[in-house]
């Protein structure tokens, strides 16, 4: 148990443990002073107060409103609403397309981050700045731009059309839009870790006769794994909730290319507030479970590294 706690938060545990263990026999006043010196922000009570207040106002109260509203339905009706084929299809699409998009981004986002930190090519700063564009661009603009590009009349669309590949107005288009909006999350979480990565370790592995694949698998990957997972988790949660860019490119055909946020919007427009929030509750719960799972995976990876 104690070991897990240490593994959970190694840095703060180490910091707070040292004055306690090292100065066991000294007067308590000095110990307190020593502890105080580590504080960057004002007292614990104040920061905790702020944390609770802020979290309540910004996160907890709105979220509990969602849960309360959906509770109006009663469990039976709730289940009926969220298990209609159309809602299930939209949930599958939203989560499936988001997983696929973040999966693709995990690979390409990594290579982009790698290229930007390890290589210095002409115009890399420009590329580096461009990564943030999906953050800055209103998502509706992104959706319109992507649709114009990938529609059968668009630049890319007309090249793909003779091959029988349709992107705009199909689930594939949704994946493209979601990959666009979630890319910076993965690149930006990986970059600082890659910068900090000790290249001596890679050289050491090489000098010990490891192949490049082995070095990557056993030296690089374990160090960036937690950051990669964080990036994927952030990108994924962004993609699941994405509405603005997707509705333009999706086609929005029920059971085929209709995402869950659109079903929520449609329900709202039909004045079915509690039904809309019921779907929202399902999305929240699934997202939360996935986040928990990813966090768990991260912990497990960290623990394993520490044990080795």
């Amino acid at each position: 148990m104690n070991q897990t706690a240490l593994a959970l938060s190694p840095a703060p545990a180490g910091v707070s443990a040292s004055p306690g263990t090292g100065t066991g026999s000294r007067p308590s006043a000095r110990r307190e002073r020593a502890a105080r010196e580590f504080r960057v922000l004002p007292g614990f009570g104040l920061t905790l107060g702020y944390t609770v207040l802020y979290l309540s106002l910004i996160v907890l109260i709105p979220l509990s409103a969602v849960f309360l509203r959906s509770a109006e339905l009663g469990p039976e009706k709730f289940w009926q609403v969220v298990t209609t084929p159309r809602v299930l299809a939209s949930l599958r699409l939203s989560f499936g397309a988001s997983l696929l998009a973040t999966g693709i981004n995990a690979v390409f986002g990594f290579s982009i981050a790698w290229a930007l930190t390890r290589q210095r090519f002409a115009g890399w700063r420009l590329f580096d700045a461009m990564i943030d564009l999906p953050f800055a661009l209103p998502t509706a603009v992104a959706g319109i731009a992507l649709t114009a590009l990938y529609a059968p009349t668009g630049w890319i669309g007309q090249l793909l059309a003779p091959l029988g590949i349709k992107v705009a107005y199909t689930p594939l288009g949704i994946v493209v839009a979601l990959a666009f909006v979630s890319l910076p999350f993965i690149v930006r979480t990986l970059q600082p870790v890659l910068v900090d990565l000790d290249r001596e370790l890679e050289r050491a592995a090489e000098s010990m006769g490891a192949s490049t694949m082995q070095t990557f698998r056993w030296v690089v990957l374990p160090s960036i794994w937690p950051a990669l997972l964080t990036g994927v988790a952030l990108g994924f949660s962004r993609a699941v909730g994405e509405y603005g860019s997707v509705i333009f490119i999706a086609g929005n055909i029920p059971n085929v290319s209709e995402i869950a946020p659109l079903v929520i919007m449609t329900k709202l427009e039909q004045y079915q507030y509690s039904q809309a929030t019921a779907i929202a509750v399902v999305m929240l719960t699934v997202s939360f479970a996935l986040m928990l799972g990813i966090n768990g995976l991260q912990l497990w990876a960290q623990k394993r590294r520490r044990q080795r």
Binding site: P85, R86, N252, I253, T266, E269, Q270, Y271, Q275
Partner: protein, 339 residues
């Protein structure tokens, strides 16, 4: 000392606030009205607002500024229910205006009787917009279900215009020889099989069809089709009039709760009455909506060919029935998409 000055400031602020919202407006101080409308009426109300503001200034000496808000009809109704301070609502269909009464009691239940023609100062209908020269030879509703024909229409769950489209198609099928509920269902199901994109609003569909080049026929408001051909070039699109269509009556109403609170009832009512004047009707016709006024209709007869039109009340028993049967959850539209 400091406390009392803070108190004074509060009182002053409160006065200023209550003044700005008080009914007792002196002539000459500018008044604002908010008109919350549906998607394709932007150009119409821009023209109407300008004309009415000029008239109001001349008549009462009061400067008037009318702000407009546009979006899908259902979305706009929801915004008003959720607290958007609309003085007047001018939506795509009576069902959405009804919601202001049933969902939030913002207007009385008999709102439709307060102005002539069920509170609908203009009408429109549903027509087809096709590519120039009509390459797929689309003449009537029946041609839309041919294999290989792609039809663009918005989602009737979110778009008022799309509900008119759906009902017009249904009505045509009913009026075919041997037509009944079953043949109508089969026809409409086939029709939606040919729809590759369901946008959430009428403007979205127009963009998909006109700008993205998707589809062979766009089911559109007549006013939207006329506007698209004028604005995007008559060399790109043709309008096809089907044998049967539906009389769309977009209603208008004053939002009682809002105008009584803001003290704008007189001016909001005058604004809506202006829509029925010959000047208002003229502007309506110029913006491709069918006018109610006989004289104005006569003048613009060439722009609006006569069609066989069904009405929502005669064929479908009113909006509430039509909504419940076709568009509510588990209704016919949901059945079409396999529920």
């Amino acid at each position: 000392m400091r406390r009392s000055s803070a108190l004074a400031l509060c009182v002053l602020l409160a006065c200023a606030l209550s003044l700005s919202g008080s009914p007792a407006r002196s002539a000459g101080s500018p008044v604002t009205l908010l008109n919350v409308s549906y998607d394709p009426t932007r150009e119409l109300y821009e023209a109407l607002n300008k004309a009415f503001a000029t008239q109001w200034l001349a008549q009462s000496g009061q400067a008037l500024q009318i702000r407009q808000s546009h979006g899908g009809s259902g979305k706009q109704a929801r915004a008003i229910i959720d607290g958007l301070q609309a003085d007047v609502a001018t939506l795509a269909l009576a069902y959405d205006v009804n919601a202001l009464s049933t969902q939030a009691r913002l207007i009385p239940a008999d709102w439709a009787t307060r102005l002539p023609y069920n509170s609908a100062p203009y009408t429109s209908t549903i027509v087809f917009l096709v590519r120039k020269g009509n390459p797929k030879n689309i003449r009537d509703w029946g041609d839309l279900v041919r294999p290989g024909v792609e039809v663009i229409t918005p989602n009737p769950k979110s778009s008022g215009g799309a509900r008119w489209n759906f009902l017009a198609a249904w009505a045509w099928a009913l009026h075919q020889p041997g037509g009944n509920e079953a043949t109508a269902l089969a026809f409409v199901t086939q029709l939606y099989k040919n729809v590759p994109v369901l946008d959430s609003g009428a403007r979205g569909s127009t963009v998909t069809f006109a700008e993205r080049g998707i589809g062979d026929a766009l089911l559109a408001w007549e006013n939207e089709a006329l506007l698209a051909t004028r604005q995007l070039g008559p060399d790109k699109f043709d309008i096809v009039l089907p044998s049967w269509s539906i009389l769309a009556e977009p209603p208008v109403t004053v939002v009682d709760k809002v105008v009584d609170r803001r003290g704008t009832r007189t001016i909001a009512e005058a604004y809506l009455k202006f829509l029925y004047t010959s000047q208002g009707q003229e502007i309506i016709a110029q913006n491709f909506y069918r006018p109610r006024d006989a004289a104005v209709a006569q003048k613009y007869a060439s722009q609006f060919p006569t069609l066989k039109l069904v009405t929502i009340d005669d064929t479908f028993g009113g909006w509430d029935k039509a909504q419940a049967k076709f568009f509510d959850d588990g209704g016919i539209f949901d059945q079409i998409y396999g529920q």
